[in-house]
């Protein structure tokens, strides 16, 4: 009888321990600090250097939800190597690379220059433009911030821009394009 009780007790302790560990893991995951886009760049760049000496940053976007200050717990950095003819992404969360994978689809974006404004610095301009648009129709919540070159501006095709996507991506999403060097809004559109 005592043996049986002892076994039950030890099982109960094991289950309690496992639950506690699970809870700690969940809380730790939930509390991963948010950071601006530039925070994890040097770590991703170090990984890219190991992958290919000529790797260059061509694109980045938030991998987890953004907060009101333009920060996210996780950002994805896409690098391209001209010599390998391939692209590889590193996703950085809380100072650690949590995902590393080759991008299987073709995406030969031009390299980004170094002097771009960080995600928190450009958010205010986008929010202002989005707020003005919201007077006419609902804009939705900011879901994505992405940085790339040559894709967002109609006036200067070589400029590097931040694109803010409000609402779910698709036909109803509202987009704000901001010059990543000056922080000025280039254009807005829905689609």
């Amino acid at each position: 009888m005592e043996d049986h009780l002892g076994r039950l007790r030890s099982r109960a302790s094991l289950v309690t321990g496992a639950l506690a560990l699970l809870l700690v893991g969940v809380v730790a995951r939930a509390q991963a600090p948010s950071a601006t886009a530039r925070t994890g760049l040097s770590l991703a760049a170090a990984a890219a250097k190991a992958w290919a000496p000529d790797a260059e940053l061509v694109y980045l976007e938030n991998d987890e939800p953004l907060d009101a200050a333009g920060r996210s717990p996780r950002w994805g950095y896409l690098f391209r190597s001209a010599t390998l003819g391939r692209s590889r992404v590193w996703s950085v969360r809380d100072g650690r690379i949590v995902t590393a994978e080759n991008l299987e689809l073709r995406f030969d974006a031009p390299p980004l220059p170094t002097g771009w404004l960080d995600s928190d610095a450009v958010l205010a301009a986008a929010e202002k433009a989005a707020a003005q648009a919201a007077k006419r129709e609902p804009r939705g919540r900011l879901s994505t911030m992405l940085l790339m070159r040559g894709a967002g501006s109609e006036s200067d095709h070589d400029v590097t821009t931040w694109t803010f996507v409000y609402g779910t991506s698709g036909s109803g999403a509202f987009h704000v394009v901001v010059d990543a060097a000056t922080g000025r809004v280039q254009r807005t559109w829905r689609g």
Partner: protein, 280 residues
């Protein structure tokens, strides 16, 4: 001349060096060599890009020519690299003069007079000057490159297997890159009596990952790969030592014991001519 004191000094230096190295040897943490690749959760990334790749691609492809021209602009050459050519020329010239002196000395069968001894002394002085100049060049290179440590992995092999014969080792990283290193009889004997053989050295991504190891050779070719989980620290050298002393093909890769450790922390990085945000 009696060379015995010199030999004794050399032997004592070797012993002291070995003792010092042993005293400073880092502590290795044991790691498991598993027969199956450990599963690892990787959260999704670049979801917007993957969902809208066609749209984004059409945007920058429209304007690609101007982007490419700017992207491929020539970069200035670091002047330090130009100065290394001068260093190499100095080394070559110094080698030539030392070689010429050595040849002249070999032609003389005996030293018959005090004049010859003076000549020998001058030659020794010249060698000392060459060594001093070499030290200066090494110091220059050290100044230029210390603090530029990158994240590296070194895999070492130790011990002789209980059964079978390892002819080569295949090390493969997660990104698919890897090397095959062959072992000859001398190397096999050396690692059996305590030597270490470097079977892989290269850059590695600073993140937790799994390294695949496979042995090829009598008895080992049929054994499936082993997997070692490592977490290379950024800007440090991560060492993985594979010890074969208890390994046998019949017991699989799990019979290989492994340990890992990191090099000392690097010196604070200096600003360098080619460092920037995208390519530090």
């Amino acid at each position: 001349m009696n060379r015995y004191p010199l030999r004794l000094l050399f032997a004592v230096t070797l012993v002291l060096t070995a003792t010092s190295a042993r005293a400073q040897a880092p502590r290795s943490a044991p790691v498991e060599v598993s027969s199956a690749r450990p599963a690892r959760e990787m959260p999704p990334t670049l979801r917007y890009l993957k969902a809208n790749a066609d749209f984004l691609r059409t945007r920058f492809e429209l304007f690609a020519p101007s982007s490419r021209v700017q992207g491929s602009a020539a970069q200035p050459v670091d002047p330090r690299f130009l100065s290394y050519r001068g260093l190499l020329a100095d080394i070559a010239a110094a080698k030539d003069s030392v070689a010429a002196s050595a040849e002249a000395r070999e032609r003389q069968a005996l030293f018959t007079s005090v004049t010859d001894l003076a000549q020998l002394e001058r030659e020794l002085d010249q060698m000392e000057r060459v060594l001093a100049a070499q030290q200066t060049r090494l110091a220059t290179l050290h100044t230029d490159f210390s603090g530029r440590q990158r994240t590296e992995l070194t895999v070492l092999l130790a011990g002789g297997a209980l059964a079978g014969r390892v002819d080569s080792v295949v090390v493969t990283l997660e990104d698919g890159t890897g090397v095959v290193t062959g072992l000859d009889d001398t190397q096999r004997r050396s690692i059996k009596v305590g030597g270490l053989l470097e079977v892989y050295r290269g850059l590695i991504e600073p993140r937790e990952q799994v390294v695949e190891v496979r042995f090829i050779g009598e008895g080992w070719s049929a054994v499936a790969s082993g997997f070692v989980r490592i977490a290379p620290a950024r800007d440090r050298v991560t060492f993985v030592k594979l010890d074969l002393s208890q390994a046998a093909p019949a017991r699989g890769m799990a019979s290989v014991s492994a340990g890992t450790w990191h090099s000392d922390a690097p010196a604070p990085a200096r600003a360098s001519a080619d460092a920037d945000q995208a390519r530090p």
